[in-house]
Each structure stands twice: as C-alpha cells, then as structure tokens.
Symmetry: C2
Subunit: 416 residues, 2 copies
Amino acid sequence: MFRLEAEIIAIGSELLTSHCIDTNSLYLIEKLNSIGIEVKFKTIVRDKEEDIIQCIKNAISRSQIIIATGGLGPTEDDITRECFSKALKRKLIYYPEIEEKIRERFRKRGLSMPLICKKQAYILEGAKVLMNEWGTAPGMKIKEGNKLLFILPGPPKELKPMFEKYIFHELKKLSKQFVCSKSIKITGLTESQTETLISDLYKKIENPKISILAYPGQIEIRLIAHSDKNYEAAESLVENMIDKFRERLKNNIFSTSGEELEEVIGKLLKERKETLAVAESCTGGLLSNRITNVSGSSNYFERGFVTYSNEAKIENLGVPKDLILKYGAVSKEVAEAMAIGVRKIAKTDYGLSITGIAGPTGGTPEKPVGLVYIGLAWKDGVLVTRNQFLGDRESIKFQSTQKALDMLRRHLIQKT
Amino acid sequence: MFRLEAEIIAIGSELLTSHCIDTNSLYLIEKLNSIGIEVKFKTIVRDKEEDIIQCIKNAISRSQIIIATGGLGPTEDDITRECFSKALKRKLIYYPEIEEKIRERFRKRGLSMPLICKKQAYILEGAKVLMNEWGTAPGMKIKEGNKLLFILPGPPKELKPMFEKYIFHELKKLSKQFVCSKSIKITGLTESQTETLISDLYKKIENPKISILAYPGQIEIRLIAHSDKNYEAAESLVENMIDKFRERLKNNIFSTSGEELEEVIGKLLKERKETLAVAESCTGGLLSNRITNVSGSSNYFERGFVTYSNEAKIENLGVPKDLILKYGAVSKEVAEAMAIGVRKIAKTDYGLSITGIAGPTGGTPEKPVGLVYIGLAWKDGVLVTRNQFLGDRESIKFQSTQKALDMLRRHLIQKT
C-alpha cells in the first residue's frame, strides 16, 4: 500500500518498565504515516550493548529507513553512539565545535560543563550532524548503502523539534505520497451497532484504510487515504467515504474534525448565544470539568452544582424534600427537579442534571450500580432519560457525562 | 541483576498506529518484573507473514522466554498461528474438541459459529493448549529446545486472565526470585528539589533499583528490590531505602502505598469524621471530580460549587459584590471569601476554594495565565496561598487541585 517503509528502534531500559509509555514512537508513527510511510517494526531495547547492536544490525538488514531514539545522554547508561559505531564499523570522531556549543549552553545557565558531557561531542564517521538547539546531544543522519539512518535524542522536547526540522521534510520528499486522514466521532451507538450499519461500505476497501476504535460512550472511525498524484485526490477518497458513512450513521456522528463532544456543544451554544448550568450528583463535577476544559467556556457556562448530599439538592437547587423521600435521590422525578431548578437559579437557557449510582457500592436490586437519570430543561420543556451503564466507577461517571452532553447536542441541532 | 530474561512480540498492524497503546505489554512487563524476570526486547510487528516469521526466529535465537500476543482472531489478518507453524516448522493440527467449545460459546448467545472461526481450532504440533474461557481463540505453550514460548490472544480481557491462570505461576517457580516493589508519592517539591535532597542516597545502588517519575504537581519514586532468599529480604531492602528517603523528604511524602492524594485526604477526613465542601472557579469541577472519584467519598464530601460566573460567586457563596469589584474575581480576598462562604453554606468542617486563570486566554500582565489563589477555611481560621503554575489549561487545572488537596492534607496531619 505505502511504498516507503520505516523501522523504529527505541533505546532505554526505562522503556521496558510498566510505567513508561514510549510517546516518541507514537509521535514518529503519526508523522511518518502522515507522509505515507508505513512503520513495519518497532523494537524497544534495554541499555545493553549486545542487545542494541543486534537491533541495529537486524534493522539494517530489513528496513529502508531506520529511526533510533534515546541513549545519547551523558551518563554511563547512554551507549547508543558506541553501539552504532560497532554495528556499522564506523569510528567516532570528536568535534570540538560541538563541545563548544554544549559548554555555551551550560555557561548561559551560569554552570560549567560536567566532564561526562564531553562524549556528546563524538559523531559517527561520515554522519551528518543534526544540531540540537533544545538540549545538549546532537542527532545524526547516516547513509549506509541504500539505507537511511537517523539517530535522535530520547527526550520528547528535543526529539520532536529535531524530527520536524531535519527529517520530516526530507522524508516527505522521498515518499512522494500525498496523505489525508480524518476521523469521525460517534456517540449513541455501540460498536456492534456501528459495525452493522457500515461494514458493507468499507470491507475489502484498502484506500482509504479504515479503523474503528471503541471506547465506553464513544466510537471513533479513522480514515487514512493516500495518492501519488496530489493531496486533493487523497482527500476526496476520504470525503467520499465520510459521506457514505454519514448517510448511514446520521446524527449519531457528532464530529468529523477531531472535536470532542464538549467542544461541539460549546460551539453550538456560542453560535446561538445561549447559556448552560449543570447540577450533578454521581458524576461529582466531571460534567462541569469537561465543559470547562474548553477554552472560552465562560461565554456559555454559567455555573455548576455538585449536589452530593440530599441537603445540597434541596438547599441549592430547590428540589422538594418530599420528592427525595418519595422517589429517592436517584429517580426520574429528582433528575427532572434538578434540571429545572438549576436552570432557574442560574438564569440560563439550559439546565442539565445527573443523578445515579456510580458504584462500586450503593447499588440495590431495584436501583443497581450504573443506573443514572439524566435531565435536560429548557424554556418550554424538560426531558429525562433513564440509563443503565456498565463498567467501573470512572467509566460510569464518564458515560453519564457523555450522555448528558449528547442529550443537549441532539436538542440543539434538532432546533435548527 | 535478574537471572531470567524474556522477550515480548506484539503482533498487529493496529499497534503500529499512533492511536493504539500496547497496554498488553505494559501489563506483561509489570507481571514479569514482579517475579524478577527482566524484559530485554519488545518488538511490535504488523500483520505481515515475512515480518512476523523473522521476529519469531530472532526471538528464539536470543531469548529464553518468549511471549507473543495477538493475531489469533478469525479474520484474514490473523496469521500468528500460520507464522509460528512456518517459523518453527511444526504442523497445525485440528482439534475437534476446541471447535466444539467455540460452537458452544456461540450457541449460548443464540448464534451459530461463523465458518471463519474454525481456524481457531488449529494448534501447533506439540503445543500445550491453553483454554480460553474469556473468548474463542485458545493460547499455546511450546517448548522449543531449551526455550519456552507462549502465544496469547490480543484482547486484554482474554490475555490478562489467561496469563494469570496458565503462565504467571509457572514462570514464578522458574524465576526463583523474590521481588518487592513500592512507590513513594510526593507533592510540594519539584523534581530537581527532590533529586537534590536524595540523590546521594541511591546513586550507585542497584538493589533496590530506583526510578523517579515527574509529573506536574507530583513526583513518584519507584523502588524495586529482589532477593533469591525470600520476600522479606527484598522487602527490607525497599523499606530501608524508604526510611532514608523519608528522613529527607518528610511531610512532602503523601503516600508510600500507591494511594492518590484524593484517597489520602479521604482517609484522613474519614478517620476524623470530618466533612468537606468545595468552591471552584478556574478548575471548573475538577477538584470535586477528583474527590468523588474515591468510592465512599459521600461520607465526607458534602457538596461542591462550580462558580464560574461572578453572579454564582455572589449568589451561591455569599462573596460580597464589592470585594469582586475592588480586587477582581482572581484575588486573595475572593479566594478567602469563597472558602469561608462554602464552609458556612454547606455546614462542613472544611471549605476549599480555587480561583485563578487557567488560560490560554484571559491573562494580563498583573494577573498572568497560571495565577491561582487557593483558600482553606476551618473552624478557627483561613489560609490562602498565591500560586503561579506553568503549563497548558489542563495542567494548570490539575496542579491547582493538587495544591488545594495538599493544603488540606498538611493542615489535617499537622493537627494530629
């Protein structure tokens, strides 16, 4: 499918622990895919000479483009330079001007360069130096036969700008591919419902390549197309497929431009110059938090109440005490009173409310964990849904806020 | 350091995209490390026959224990079985009893088995079948010379219980190592302050192995020790080091048992039978959300206000309008009034308040993005801190809530 193929070698024992995610590789894969280069192998290797040398030799034997990251620091563990020297049988050559640049960096911070940093001034014979303006260790570019090797420092704050500056454009030219990728975000359908609706449209189609990611409360369809003609050709492959999906998935699609649900409702409210207030119980502030993660949300978000106790529901939202006594705090009636109450108190166009049982404790046979009532109040009416979510506490909290935001979204677009 | 070494092969093109994190490997690494087995290589390979075969051959040539995951599903892309068959020169043998189990699984759901699932009933010659009670594809265990190979299905919900049931205990016996790992969580110090305080204690020490992870607002020190005698020996290595760290880091340590800050303050409040209410502006509900992520938080968390607008601060918390006009909503005075106000209205022992500028817009030269005032009110007093946080909107929100929780924590332990 893609013509150029690359291999990534991530070097560092810390990458083989359970608490370290190799974000560099995710970044590199994204950038490489965006210019039509497929990654065929990613190897993570600890800081051990024989292991690293073997990885390098393997990579050269099988891949056209190799990007190695990490192990260029000044400590004893950092042996990437030496390993490439041995694997490629190339000498390491001392560059006084690189040492001077490193010394300069320390001087600017009022420090003198520790002796151990001197090794960062050694470069493989025949390599092109990739200067590092964001840290001390320079990168390298090496031509080995018809293979192209890049060595980059491990810290993401150095790797990313260096990749952008020295590698991305060169590889883009080499790749000669134009790539367009977009994603469709969906809520209100399960993964299997989505699959059933659209699978006949994309099975057996290779360009665009389609992948479906399912999260609780959200499905994402990624489309990536390529063309050797121009970007527009790749884009129209993606757009045509999106149009076909839209016919089937309709309003369940809330975004085709990468936006989250809270951003979509933010835009809709802003356009309409309308305002929102929320009252939440079991979600404990997550709904407000998601809404206010959007910069500029103060334009439409007026206030939120986390009415965890019954007293808070009564005192702050004006929910009648009798209603709670009669139906319980987790009930259609209380959700409705919360939504109406918060809208009235905050003097907003919309009031959203959530009351339920997030678990893991607190469930009963009549009102099990995951039972959540969600209310939406507006000028002329109120709507309450009864939901039964599955999952752990955090997942139930998330799904509840997702449903609440989606109820508002569907109400807003339906009005148009 | 560790005697037994393992290699992981993760098979699947989706793992070489930028949106898929290989959580299986993180899980496997954690489990293997916990029994003293070090992972020397992790290779991720796409669904392509020649690539997978090469990975398998490489692994057998260099590693004692190999765990391969993924590619056992029923679709055309799933070729792990065939690749092992070719790499190891072992036939695939049809097991009618496995097909019957798969059929049974479908029958229970009222479905008939799709024909493509039949290939999951094929097992490598000489392999031990690892039955899959959590999905359809069985796993395999293979002895190849003195090497031990395990093949597991990719879905984490199948892989994890299968690893627990069939592999973990066998490898634990083989490893003959006792391992103890703990972590220290710190807030109120930067990474370099932490390093300066403790680096002389652990540099050059290999057992326990120490790693320091820094997040905005939180530092974590991981300690992992091993012994070939017994668990107690490993544990005492870890505990001795923790004691040394504690002497230096004192109250900045909030947990040595893995607990998050919100869990720590939850325990402290529960012990004291005291209650809390919060009022937040720029954090938009995140503080309430974190507090209520702890199951049982309704015992001490009474309510929260997300007073995004000035009106909400005035109406719901009783902040004097003049105070906001005179000092601005982001000020020491307003933070103080919010903390005192929320405590009074909710009738709780403590009131916590946050008001600031989360950015990226809204900053001024006098009140820049990241300026956050945090207030804590109790029976006899009130404390307000002025903070200048760095980072993006979400990071500033997180650091603000971290500081608020930590102010309460320090107040609570100081009272003891």
